[in-house]
């Protein structure tokens, strides 16, 4: 996300938050606090692993709760019956709480899934993944994109490797790579990348500039955003119409042609657009943030860089450790308690909203020894929560891992060293519930031979 949008967010962007020293000072959603999340998580783990946010549940008389322990989040995401995805905006939004099920009865279980015609229940949720997204971006389908991803990685490196010895890594590599890869997978014209990037930013705006755990924006912001998204929807509709008429080897064409076995029919335009919307929003900034955070780790740790240069088979463990320590999706997901529950002795009444802090789960010392350290031999490194787990686990994990791995394979091959450019980095991150570096200035030397 760039820093220029029509609304003025400069105050939010420039805010400097105080590092908390005790629980009273912990406020994960406070301005500038993203720079102190690891310290906040440590305090929360020790003193308040289930932290109540009064009045911020699904209705004005219910509460929100921030959940930070690995095991609690693990249990929650693996029980979608008890902890469904909330399908409503929360107290202020009115929303769809209490929506009815197929036979018209209101049900606490009528969660976000009910609104999605392609996967209104758990069984269809699975079919959706297996039939519609896995073949393109999941662990089974992603590997066939290796040549395409490698080509883009090399092109991006070619753009700067002979021009000097310094780059701004976010703009010069981490941001354009996922944009090129996803646009190609979707089969949309690469010349549209600039406008697609703008729309991509509108898609994630709520998660960057929205307030609190429910990511609330003002009416004006919602309106401005809805306009951008409306334009994007028209664009995606045009792509769908074009591909229905003239299908090619790409995901948009596939979705317009496929017979979805689970429903014994093809997909409607809106359904196709819904899947594509998820691919576009999910596939860009998340991977960008991961690659940028990994570059920061390597630039700060020359020993680690040398270790990867000496043994490429360690790259995949490095990428997992990078995603564990600096999860792009720190606080992306929420769940609702569909039943009365109790977590660590804290009563959580039905209707409460749970804000899941994946970034904190990944730094839970009870699950990961010395959690802040990059350890390429960790036995459980791939078990981090960055992609979530359970039925809603990120469907794009396969392509994102592929991009990260190929990025480091090629960068490690083509560069001899990378270091932080002295005096140029402030290591500041975007506001919101994700964790993304604004910029990262690096110096490099080219590999010889």
């Amino acid at each position: 996300m760039t820093q220029s949008t029509a609304s003025d967010y400069s105050e939010m962007i420039n805010a400097v938050g105080k590092c908390p020293i005790d629980l009273g000072e912990v406020d994960l959603f406070g301005a500038g606090q993203q720079e102190h999340w690891p310290e906040s998580y440590k305090i929360l783990h020790e003193e308040s692993p289930v932290q109540r946010i009064p009045g911020e549940g699904s209705t004005p008389d219910t509460d929100g709760f921030v959940i930070t322990k690995y095991q609690d989040i693990y249990d929650i995401v693996r029980d979608p019956q008890t902890f469904p995805q909330p399908g409503f905006a929360g107290a202020d939004g009115g929303g769809t709480a209490g929506m009815s099920t197929e036979d018209g009865e209101p049900s606490a279980l009528a969660d976000a899934m009910a609104l999605n015609t392609l996967r209104p229940n758990l069984e269809l949720h699975k079919a959706h993944r297996i039939e519609l997204t896995d073949p393109w971006v999941g662990a089974t389908g992603a590997p066939r994109h290796r040549p395409m991803v490698t080509k883009f990685v090399d092109q991006l490196i070619d753009n700067w490797i002979d021009k000097g010895e310094e780059i701004e890594f976010v703009e010069d590599f981490a941001a354009p790579l996922p944009q090129l890869v996803m646009t190609t997978i979707l089969g949309w014209p690469l010349e549209d990348i600039d406008i697609l990037r703008k729309w991509g930013q509108a898609q994630v705006r709520r998660f960057v500039y929205g307030k609190g755990h429910r990511n609330i924006m003002s009416d004006e912001e919602e309106l401005e955003n809805a306009r951008d998204l409306g334009e994007f929807m028209e664009y995606v509709q045009e792509q769908v119409t074009r591909k229905r008429r003239d299908p090619q080897e790409d995901m948009t064409s596939f979705l317009t042609q496929v017979t979805y076995k689970a429903m014994n029919r093809k997909l409607t335009d809106n359904e196709v657009i819904g899947v594509l919307f998820g691919m576009h929003i999910g596939g860009l900034e998340t991977t960008q943030y991961a690659i940028a955070a990994e570059a920061e780790l390597l630039a700060q740790n020359p020993e680690l860089w040398r270790e990867l240069k000496a043994d490429r088979s360690k790259i995949r463990f490095f990428a997992e450790e990078g995603m564990r320590i600096h999860a792009p999706t720190q606080g992306l997901s929420t769940r609702m308690a569909a039943k009365d529950v109790e977590i660590r002795g804290v009563p959580i009444p039905k209707g409460s909203i749970l804000h899941l802090r994946y970034g904190a789960a990944n730094l839970d010392a009870e699950e990961f020894n010395c959690p802040a350290e990059v350890d390429l031999t960790r036995p459980n490194t791939g078990r981090h929560m960055t992609f979530s787990q359970g039925i809603r686990v990120c469907p794009g994990a396969g392509i994102s891992r592929l991009e990260q791995n190929i990025a480091w394979e090629r960068l490690v091959d083509r560069l001899e060293t990378i270091e932080l450019a002295p005096g140029k980095n402030d290591f500041r991150h975007q506001p919101g519930i994700m964790l993304g570096l604004w910029e990262l200035h690096l110096q490099f030397t080219k590999a010889t031979g």
Partner: protein, 101 residues
């Protein structure tokens, strides 16, 4: 920042229930031998427990009818991304410029 003066007891939510008076609950299975910290009080079984929304499985391969245009699509998006705020409805601001609806 919320009032955390007596956070450990989670004010307003009542003290932990006395031992003898416990409601029936179930727990998720242990993780690497560690007991779960979650208790789920089932309460009355929900008659709609398995059913979330309207399935649109087709008997004859025909597609369901749907509205078109950006506003209709925005409404159809998964609330995971929109947090359930739908422009052009009672829970969102006015709908965006939309030539087709």
């Amino acid at each position: 920042m919320r009032d955390e003066s007596d956070h450990l007891a989670n004010p307003g939510l009542g003290a932990p229930k006395p031992q003898g008076d416990e409601q029936a609950f179930r727990k998720p299975p242990p993780l690497h031998g560690r007991e779960s910290h979650i208790r789920i009080f089932e309460g009355e079984p929900d008659p709609n427990a398995k059913l979330y929304g309207k399935t649109q499985i087709s008997a004859d391969g025909a597609l369901p009818r749907e509205e078109h245009g950006p506003s209709a699509v925005l409404k159809a998006l998964d609330p995971f991304w929109t947090r359930g705020i739908i422009p052009g409805t009672s829970n969102g601001p006015e709908k965006p410029a939309d030539s087709q609806v």
